[in-house]
């Protein structure tokens, strides 16, 4: 990951924070090589620091536009939470397929927080918004509380395991997340691509790999169609005049 691009199983991780001084075409060329030689299902883009600097947002925008224009591959964006629905409208329109949001205590304390989060989760298809929860000192009950909290907001929590913890043996967080997701009606369709508790999940374990792949591809195309439908185009108003 030294150069900002890394490969983790079926997932290409791109850290824009390390790339914003490099030409987009150069980054894309590297990605083309990786995709050509490997079986890539997901681009996992770390948004970097662009939220502080406008020109970095435009780099990000240009990068995502080019990425979506070049590859028909699932794109997850890891970004910090902004209390602005316009920002999320923009990245939704760019073609970001799923989000990993990071929140601060201050964000969660804001009165508008639940409303904004509901807006975000309704913008993307069910099960496409994630957040990372740090396991910290392995205090299971605190983590369970966080899982329940985010699940109610239709956000899928993923547990970032600390090295000294063995969460899977101490209590079954994975099963707990799955149960919360089911209770809150969150779709499992994207979960197979991502780790919930440090291991690749097979929630719908009965299905074979090829079947899962086809189902995933189908869901991906449906989500693209959904986005296309939800974006208003000005040009369409001229259609009727055959212009």
């Amino acid at each position: 990951m030294d150069n900002g691009i890394g490969l983790d199983r079926n997932k290409v991780i791109v850290d824009l924070g390390k790339l914003h001084n490099i030409a987009v075409s150069g980054v894309l060329q590297k990605l083309k090589e990786i995709v050509y030689h490997n079986n890539v299902d997901v681009f996992y883009v770390l948004a970097g620091r662009y939220d502080n600097e406008l020109h970095e947002f435009y780099f990000f925008k240009k990068f995502v536009e080019k990425l979506k224009g070049t590859f028909n591959i699932f794109l997850m964006l890891n970004t910090k939470y902004f209390p602005s629905t316009k920002y999320f409208d923009s990245i939704f329109a760019l073609g970001v397929d799923a989000l990993t949001l990071s929140f601060t205590e201050k964000d969660r304390g804001s009165g508008k927080f639940p409303e904004t989060v509901r807006y975000i989760t309704s913008l993307w298809p069910s099960g496409a918004v994630f957040t990372d929860i740090a396991a910290g000192e392995c205090t299971g009950e605190k983590i369970k509380e966080a899982i329940a909290y985010f699940s109610k907001l239709k956000i899928i929590p993923r547990i970032m395991k600390a090295d000294r913890c063995d969460l899977n043996s101490s209590f079954c967080l994975r099963d707990y997340i799955v149960r919360e997701m089911k209770e809150n009606g969150i779709s499992f369709r994207w979960v197979n691509n991502f780790e919930l508790c440090g291991i690749i999940q097979k929630v719908d374990g009965q299905k074979g790999r090829s079947k899962r792949k086809i189902a995933g591809k189908f869901a991906f195309e449906l989500a693209s169609l959904r986005r296309k439908l939800m974006l208003k185009e000005v040009e369409s108003s001229f259609d009727s005049a055959s212009l």
Partner: protein, 478 residues
């Protein structure tokens, strides 16, 4: 951050809206296939029945824009030989119709006039002549847009004048959606273009195609000058009413705009001095119009193409300029329409259709004329004006043949009103261009246009009844 608008309506509704054309296409195609399997009855030949099915199928596609107009035109050309209505050689040969080449020539002439800057210079002179009076400006704009549309496609006139009017509106700080003068100005531009566009062959491609269809049906034709003489008085009357409605409906005061002269002066300086290029274009265009009037035997398409070739020889435009202005979609659509119309005639299907209509409904010949006018004028509000001519004219001509109505009168009674789109931005590019300014709402253009539609029907009907017989266009064939 770019402005993104998210549509939050239910997804099933968005899906239907987004793909309604696809739904219409699938439904029309299924109905077309089902219709082809139905056994033929009632004295219609198998080929005639298939031609009728293709005709109705294409009408639906043209009316709904389920496919782009040109693609439906191609579909018509392909279906006719595929279904063995006519041999391929015959079907494709209709593409060589004179009207198609006239349209091609007209596009190239318009490209030359636009590129030379002559059209913009004339527009600025006319604006200056208005002396800065609001009412005069509306009147001059109507008259000028109309007279430009006598020699150029109406949409090209709208495209040339639109930035000029937008600049004036901006300089005068006219507020979008609220300023009545702004509304009147943009509607005057749209109405001037469409009213003038019906006066000659050059205003809209539908006019020569109507003459092309008339020639295919009857072997008769309407000359450039004859068409202009027949329609111009009605156009002038309609322009007068348009001025009256715009100034009254939008309460345009007789005030002087002090800054107008300055706006035009700056634009004139930007245009530069009258150039040799403009002089060349002006001479060729004037000679072309004279040739259309005096040398009818040479043929309008020949004259248009000779004029277009001269523009190239005089180095007025390059082939690249021409290709940017030629609307190949329109040319292909008309090729398909002529093939389809000819297939209907050659298989007698159109006469069968006319018989069926007349068996259930037998008005007098003059009433039939009024029906043609009214039907064209209302249909064109929702459907592309070219499409109205393409599907209504063959039926109108065959009904005219049964009634003994002069086919030239029937042709004019469909082609002329089909260009008069006063109410909605659909159906005519000048309306869509002017509507995009954002100065007036659909409701306003609908209300004012409704009055204009009624007036147009009355004016055209009176022309047919009292004026046209004086210039040899009697309703009945002698």
């Amino acid at each position: 951050m770019d402005k993104v608008v998210i549509d939050r309506r239910p997804l099933y509704l968005l899906f239907f809206i987004k793909y309604k054309k696809a739904f219409i296409f699938v439904a029309a195609t299924l109905a077309f296939i089902a219709a082809l399997t139905v056994p033929v009855r009632g004295g219609l030949t198998q080929e005639g029945y298939k031609a009728l099915c293709v005709f109705l199928y294409c009408i639906i596609l043209w009316m709904t824009n389920a496919l782009p107009l040109a693609i439906t035109g191609l579909l018509a050309i392909v279906l006719i030989p595929t279904l063995k209505v006519l041999p391929g050689k015959v079907s494709y040969a209709f593409f060589g119709n004179e009207a198609i080449f006239f349209i091609l020539g007209a596009f190239i002439i318009a490209a030359a006039v636009k590129k030379s800057g002559l059209s913009e210079r004339i527009s600025l002179e006319i604006l200056l002549k208005s002396g800065g009076s609001k009412r005069k400006l509306v009147l001059y704009l109507l008259l000028f847009a109309a007279s430009m549309s006598f020699i150029m496609p109406e949409h090209a006139v709208a495209a040339i004048l639109f930035p000029v009017i937008t600049d004036i509106a901006t300089m005068l700080k006219l507020k979008k959606g609220t300023d009545n003068f702004g509304k009147a100005l943009f509607l005057a531009l749209a109405w001037g273009c469409i009213t003038g566009g019906v006066a000659t062959y050059l205003g809209g491609a539908r006019n020569p195609i109507a003459v092309g269809l008339l020639e295919e049906f009857t072997g008769e034709s309407i000359g450039f000058f004859h068409w202009m003489i027949a329609v111009t008085p009605a156009v002038l009357v309609m322009l007068f009413f348009a001025y009256f409605i715009l100034t009254k409906y939008f309460k345009v005061q007789n005030e002087v705009i002090p800054t107008l002269k300055e706006v035009v002066r700056v634009k004139k300086i930007n245009c530069g001095r009258f150039s040799f290029l403009e002089a060349k274009v002006a001479i060729v265009t004037v000679l072309t119009v004279i040739a259309w009037v005096l040398f009818k035997d040479v043929g309008i398409a020949n004259i248009a193409l000779l004029s277009a070739i001269t523009m190239f020889l005089l180095d007025v435009i390059s082939w690249k300029d021409a290709t940017e202005s030629i609307d190949w979609g329109i040319i292909i659509m008309y090729g398909g329409a002529i093939s389809l119309g000819s297939a209907l005639i050659k298989t007698n299907a159109v006469f069968f259709l006319a018989d069926k209509i007349m068996a259930s409904f037998q008005p007098a010949a003059f009433t039939m004329i009024i029906i043609f006018i009214a039907l064209s004028i209302w249909l064109t509000e929702g459907v592309s004006n070219s499409a109205v001519v393409v599907f209504l004219l063959p039926v109108a001509l065959s009904i005219a043949a049964k009634y003994g109505i002069n086919p030239k009168v029937a042709t004019l009674c469909v082609a002329v009103p089909s260009g008069l789109v006063y109410m909605l931005p659909t159906g005519s590019p000048p309306n869509a261009i002017c509507y995009s300014s954002g100065y007036y709402s659909i409701k306003e253009s609908f209300q004012a246009g409704l009055i204009m539609n009624v007036i147009s029907i009355i004016v055209l009907t009176l022309s047919v009844r009292y004026y046209w017989p004086l210039i040899g266009l009697g309703i009945k064939i002698k």
